[in-house]
C-alpha cells in the first residue's frame, strides 16, 4: 500500500526487537510485579537479548501506587529481571501510561543515552471492588474540579456520546456497531478477555452504565502486562523474528477539565500527537494498513477515527457501522485485536499491548492478520484527553 523509504525516528534506525504480553483478564494468582516481570522477560527473550543488554527501564502504570500502595515498582521489576543498576522510572499518564513508557524508551535510544530500552506497562485491578476502581480511575479528573461533581469515566464518555449525538446525529445503533465489530475481530483470540461475538441488540439492551452507554459499550476492568524492547537495528541482529521499524512516536497533552473544552467530540491531545507523528513519519492517514486505537468506550473509537483523520468528522459512526474499518473494508482495519472493548483494559498495559499487536501484524503472524500489512499506527489516550500518544510503525 505504501513504499517504506522514509528516515526512521530521529535519524537513528530504531526498531522494536521484541514484544510480549500476558493474557488480559483476571489474574488472582499474580500481582502487578509478577505480571510485569513475565511480560518483560518474554520480550527480552524474543529480542534475542539478555537482561544485561538493557540500559534503561520505563514502566507505565496508573493505579499501582494508589490501589496496591507500592512505590518504586520499576526498580522492583528491574531487580527481579536481573537488569543490574540501570536507571528506572515509573511514568504515569492515566490510560496512556504504556504509550508514554514507549515514548520515553524511544527518546532515550534516539538521544544515545541508551542503546536498548525496556518499556513495560502493567495494571492489576480485578482484586478491588468496582466502586474502588471507579474511584481510582477518577483520579484522572482534577481534584476539586469535575471529580467533585461525581463524574466517572463512563460518565465522561457518556457526555462525549451525548454531544456527538447532538452535534452529528450519531445513531445509538451505529455506536453499538463499534463493539460488534471489535468483538467479531477478537473471536477466538488467544489474548482477548472477551472473544465471543455480540449483536447490536445485545449491546443496546445490556445494563445501562452512564447514558447512553451500556455495559457492552465499556471496556472491562482487567489485569495484565505488556512489554516492548526498543533498540537500534544493529543491536536487533539476534532477534527471533523480524524487527519492526519505529517511524514516529509522539505525545501531546490536552484538557484536564470539562470547563476547558469547547467541543467534547474531539481530543486536542490526539489531533496534536497525530499531526506530529504523521509529519515525523512522512505518511498520511490514508496510507495506513492497520490501526490499534483507544476504544475505552464505543464512542471513543468513533471520536478517535475522526481525530486521527481516518474518517471524516461526523461520519465515522456510520462508516464503521457500514464496515469501512472491518476486514475487507475500504479503510485501514481498526482494532484487529478486538481493541480494549474485547482484549480488556489493564490501564497501564494497554498502550504496549497495542504495540504488541501491531508488531505481530507487521511480521504477518497476528491472530486476525491484515494481509500485506506494511504500515501501522497505535493511538493511546489518557484521562479526559489530558494526554495521548501516537506511534507509527513500519514493516
Amino acid at each position: 500500500m505504501v513504499s517504506i523509504g522514509m528516515e526512521s525516528e530521529g535519524g537513528r534506525d530504531l526498531v522494536i526487537a521484541g514484544s510480549a504480553m500476558t493474557r488480559f483478564g483476571r489474574h488472582p494468582e499474580a500481582g502487578p510485579v509478577e505480571l510485569a516481570v513475565q511480560a518483560a522477560r518474554e520480550a527480552i527473550d524474543s529480542a534475542g537479548l539478555s537482561p544485561a543488554d538493557v540500559d534503561t527501564l520505563y514502566l507505565g502504570t496508573f493505579l499501582g501506587q494508589s490501589l496496591h500502595q507500592q512505590g518504586v515498582v520499576a526498580s522492583i521489576v528491574a531487580r527481579r529481571l536481573g537488569l543490574g543498576p540501570v536507571p528506572t522510572s515509573v511514568v504515569e499518564g492515566a490510560c496512556a501510561s504504556g504509550g508514554i513508557a514507549l515514548r520515553h524508551g524511544v527518546l532515550s535510544c534516539r538521544s544515545g543515552s541508551a542503546e536498548t530500552a525496556l518499556c513495560v506497562g502493567v495494571e492489576h485491578l480485578t482484586g478491588f471492588s468496582t466502586e474502588a476502581v471507579t474511584g481510582g480511575l477518577a483520579e484522572a479528573f482534577e481534584l476539586g474540579g469535575d471529580r467533585g461533581s461525581g463524574l466517572t469515566f463512563p460518565g465522561f464518555f457518556g457526555l462525549v456520546a451525548s454531544e456527538h449525538q447532538a452535534r452529528y446525529g450519531t445513531d445509538r445503533e451505529e455506536m453499538a456497531a463499534v463493539t460488534v465489530k471489535n468483538r467479531a475481530h477478537a473471536e477466538g483470540s488467544p489474548i482477548a478477555m472477551f472473544d465471543a461475538p455480540v449483536s447490536v441488540e445485545q449491546v443496546v439492551s445490556s445494563r445501562p452504565i452512564a447514558d447512553p452507554l451500556c455495559l457492552y459499550d465499556c471496556s472491562p476492568i482487567s489485569d495484565g502486562a505488556a512489554a516492548v524492547v526498543v533498540t537500534t537495528r544493529a543491536n536487533a541482529a539476534g532477534a527471533r523474528e523480524r524487527p519492526v521499524r519505529i517511524l514516529a512516536c509522539e505525545q501531546a497533552s490536552g484538557a484536564t477539565a470539562i470547563s476547558q473544552v469547547a467541543d467534547l467530540t474531539t481530543f486536542e491531545a490526539t489531533t496534536a500527537a497525530a499531526g506530529r507523528a504523521f509529519a515525523a513519519a512522512g505518511v498520511a492517514p490514508e496510507e495506513l494498513d492497520v490501526v490499534e486505537l483507544h476504544d475505552c468506550f464505543s464512542i471513543a473509537e468513533i471520536v478517535d477515527c475522526e481525530d486521527l483523520g481516518l474518517l471524516p468528522r461526523g461520519e465515522a459512526a456510520a462508516a464503521i457501522a457500514d464496515g469501512a474499518t472491518s476486514f475487507g473494508g475500504s479503510q485501514a482495519v481498526v482494532n484487529p485485536s478486538g481493541g480494549l472493548l474485547s482484549r480488556g483494559h489493564p490501564v497501564g498495559a494497554t498502550g504496549l499491548a497495542q504495540i504488541n499487536e501491531l508488531v505481530r501484524q507487521l511480521r504477518g503472524v497476528a491472530h486476525r492478520q491484515v494481509e500485506g500489512a506494511e504500515l501501522a499506527l497505535a493511538h493511546n489516550l489518557g484521562g479526559t484527553g489530558a494526554t495521548a500518544t501516537v506511534t507509527v510503525l513500519a514493516r
Binding site: 468496582t130 466502586e131 474502588a132 471507579t134 474511584g135 477518577a138 469535575d146 467533585g148 461533581s149 461525581g150 463524574l151 466517572t152 463512563p154 460518565g155 457518556g158 457526555l159 462525549v160 456520546a161 451525548s162 454531544e163 449525538q165 447532538a166 445494563r207 445501562p208 452504565i209 452512564a210 447514558d211 447512553p212 452507554l213 470539562i258 470547563s259 473544552v261 469547547a262 467534547l264
Partner: protein, 71 residues
C-alpha cells in the same frame, strides 16, 4: 461561568455506577452560557434533559431544568 442565571445544556448523562461518596443514579450535564462551560449536577436528579434544553444555574455546581424538550 456564571453562578446564577440560565444556560444551555450541551451534553447530559445519567451516572448509574458511582464512585465512593456518591449515590447513583444521578444526572450530570455540561452547560454553557456566555461566560463559559461547566459540569453541573442536575436537580431533581433524574430529570430528562437533552442537549439544547435550558437550565437555571444554582451556585457553582447545580443546575435545575427550566425547559426540557424531552419531557
Amino acid at each position: 461561568m456564571s453562578a446564577s442565571g440560565t444556560a444551555t445544556v450541551r451534553a447530559v448523562t445519567v451516572i448509574r455506577t458511582s464512585p465512593p461518596g456518591f449515590q447513583a443514579p444521578y444526572t450530570l450535564a455540561v452547560v454553557a452560557d456566555a461566560h463559559g462551560t461547566s459540569l453541573r449536577l442536575v436537580d431533581p436528579p433524574l430529570t430528562h434533559l437533552e442537549p439544547g434544553d435550558e437550565v437555571t444555574l444554582i451556585g457553582d455546581d447545580v443546575a435545575t431544568p427550566l425547559t426540557t424538550s424531552g419531557s
